[in-house]
């Protein structure tokens, strides 16, 4: 009896979070949508034309490249550290935990402008290296925290069993550790990707005028809602793709 009601509730919640976003799609393709009309007066591709007349393509690729590189590096650096923290191998983990999490508490704008001071001196201002380094400052903590929440005695026991069964460390990693922690790794990668992908503050500070998608998009938000909505949909595309992959990875059983 509670099933249909639960289904209705779930559908309502889903609608509450998805319907307002549909307005974004409508807005993107509404050449004219004046109050008090509930439907646009005129549909068209004006938003697409203006959005793609500038740096949008380059900005899209820049953002994609920086986010992918940042997440890959973050996962490699975070995995061993998250294992130590998640399995509670330290007698005093608080210091390490606070040190690793500290960058999350600082505005990305602050991290960006602080690092720019040095990047200009090193001639790295506006380079991919500078952007990845700036994003890594807060993506690495996010990835570490999400990863460590999924590690614990359960995984250790499984690995112990793999070792006793004669699996080499590498095969143990490929056949046991990674599949067993796939949901956590996927969640960590998703969060890291999104944080880098949508970061405005540090991209603006470190980018040195290099087009990054959020930086290209911001001026349109106040000035031209239709172009902003169009860019927003473009902004959403890789994130949604990444999300679908994550949900699939999260559901894969060991």
């Amino acid at each position: 009896m509670t099933e249909p009601r639960g289904r209705l509730g779930a559908a309502l919640i889903a609608a509450l979070f998805s319907v307002p976003l549909l307005a974004l799609v409508t807005r993107a393709f509404a050449d004219s949508w004046r109050a008090p009309a509930l439907v646009p007066q005129e549909l068209g591709l004006r938003g697409v034309r203006i959005a793609f007349s500038g740096d949008t393509g380059t900005a899209f690729l820049n953002s994609l490249q920086v986010a992918t590189l940042t997440v890959a590096i973050a996962l490699i650096l975070a995995w061993p550290a998250a294992r130590v923290l998640g399995e509670r191998r330290l007698r005093h983990p608080a210091t390490v935990f606070i040190l690793l999490a500290a960058p999350l508490l600082v505005p990305s704008y602050a991290v960006g402008s602080g690092l720019t001071e040095w990047f200009i001196r090193l001639g790295l201002d506006g380079s991919t290296t500078a952007l990845v380094a700036a994003h890594l400052t807060f993506v690495l903590p996010y990835v570490t925290i999400v990863l460590l929440s999924g590690f614990g005695p359960g995984l250790t026991t499984l690995e112990e069993m793999a070792r006793v069964s004669g699996l080499s460390p590498l095969r143990g990693l490929a056949l046991v550790s990674l599949p067993a922690s796939a949901p956590t790794v996927a969640a960590a990668a998703l969060l890291g990707f999104l944080v880098s992908w949508s970061d405005y503050g540090s991209s603006l500070a470190v980018g040195g005028g290099r087009p990054m998608l959020p930086v290209v998009l911001l001026p349109f938000v106040g000035a031209d809602p239709q172009v902003a909505a169009t860019l927003a949909l473009l902004f959403l595309a890789p994130a949604l793709l990444f999300l679908v992959l994550t949900v699939r990875a999260g559901r894969r059983p060991l």
């Binding site: 919640i13 690495l140 809602p225």
Partner: protein, 276 residues
């Protein structure tokens, strides 16, 4: 000999922590050092503490700090409460509900703010549907619109963190507990709460710190006064070319210190951020 040393558990632990810790120390330490340097070395001038002393005497800073703290606290508490309700409502649902729910997560804050303006501003879609809104939500002095955007944006994020924790073995424990005759509230206390407490606390600290430091949302639909701390910093860089960067750096450093202190406090209060 080095092999034997590496096999020592404590050395091994620190060796595995080293890559992450060294990276963070270098980048984060570098960023803070850079910000401190900017705050005491205004463009083309000698080292001075003038920026700090004028900042700490600005009445606007106190207003900004109080407004920022209040917004961040209310947003975080509401988002956490909504997230728990969502997680409890949909944890039995299939992938599609989670995917729909997760639609709000990948959208940058600035775009949620854009959507909010599209719906809630005077003449927006909500007014067109309902006729009139009982309260002002965009550019209102209390910052209700800002809080609303953050709750909308962060509640699904927190809910997904909770749902991730409720995946592995949670259903079995829940059902076992129910089969043994535990009531709904007992299951909530003994099974659900221990499962979600860790991610909830960690997630809430992340959300709180984010709200404290972000400036896109308040710029888009917050009140013109008081500004949030990050907005105050952002405005400074646009106001004065010479001292603006210094004022911004000093303000952002203050925000950072406040956020770190509050997070330490939260971790203390929650005892163990991973819970069990």
């Amino acid at each position: 000999m080095s092999g034997a040393l590496l096999r020592h558990p404590r050395v091994r632990n620190y060796a595995r922590l080293a890559p992450a810790i060294l990276t963070i120390t270098l980048l984060f330490g570098g960023a803070l050092a850079g910000a401190v340097r900017t705050s005491v070395l205004p463009l083309g001038q000698d080292a001075t503490l003038a920026t700090w002393s004028s900042l700490l005497h600005a009445p606007e800073l106190v207003d900004a700090a109080l407004f920022t703290l209040r917004t961040a606290l209310i947003s975080t508490l509401l988002a956490a409460a909504v997230a728990v309700a969502i997680a409890l409502a949909v944890w039995r649902r299939g992938t599609w509900v989670r995917a729909l729910l997760a639609l709000a997560v990948p959208i940058p804050h600035l775009l949620v703010a854009t959507v909010a303006v599209l719906w809630l501003a005077p003449g927006g879609l909500a007014e067109r549907v309902l006729g009139a809104l009982p309260i002002t939500l965009v550019r209102d002095r209390a910052g209700l619109g800002v809080v609303l955007v953050y709750v909308y944006k962060e509640a699904p994020f927190l809910a997904l963190l909770l749902l991730a924790a409720m995946g592995q073995g949670y259903r079995e424990r829940e059902e076992a507990c129910a089969a043994l005759g535990a009531s709904a509230s007992q299951r909530l206390r003994w099974v659900t709460w221990p499962t979600i407490r860790g991610p909830l606390v960690v997630g809430s600290i992340i959300v709180f710190a984010y709200v404290l430091g972000a400036f896109e949302v308040p710029l888009a639909l917050g009140p013109s006064y008081p500004p949030t701390l990050a907005e105050y910093a952002f405005n400074a860089t646009r106001g004065d070319l010479i001292s603006g960067q210094s004022t911004a750096a000093a303000t952002l450093l203050l925000t950072s210190v406040a956020a770190m202190l509050l997070a330490v406090l939260a971790v203390r209060l929650a005892k163990d951020p991973q819970g069990d």
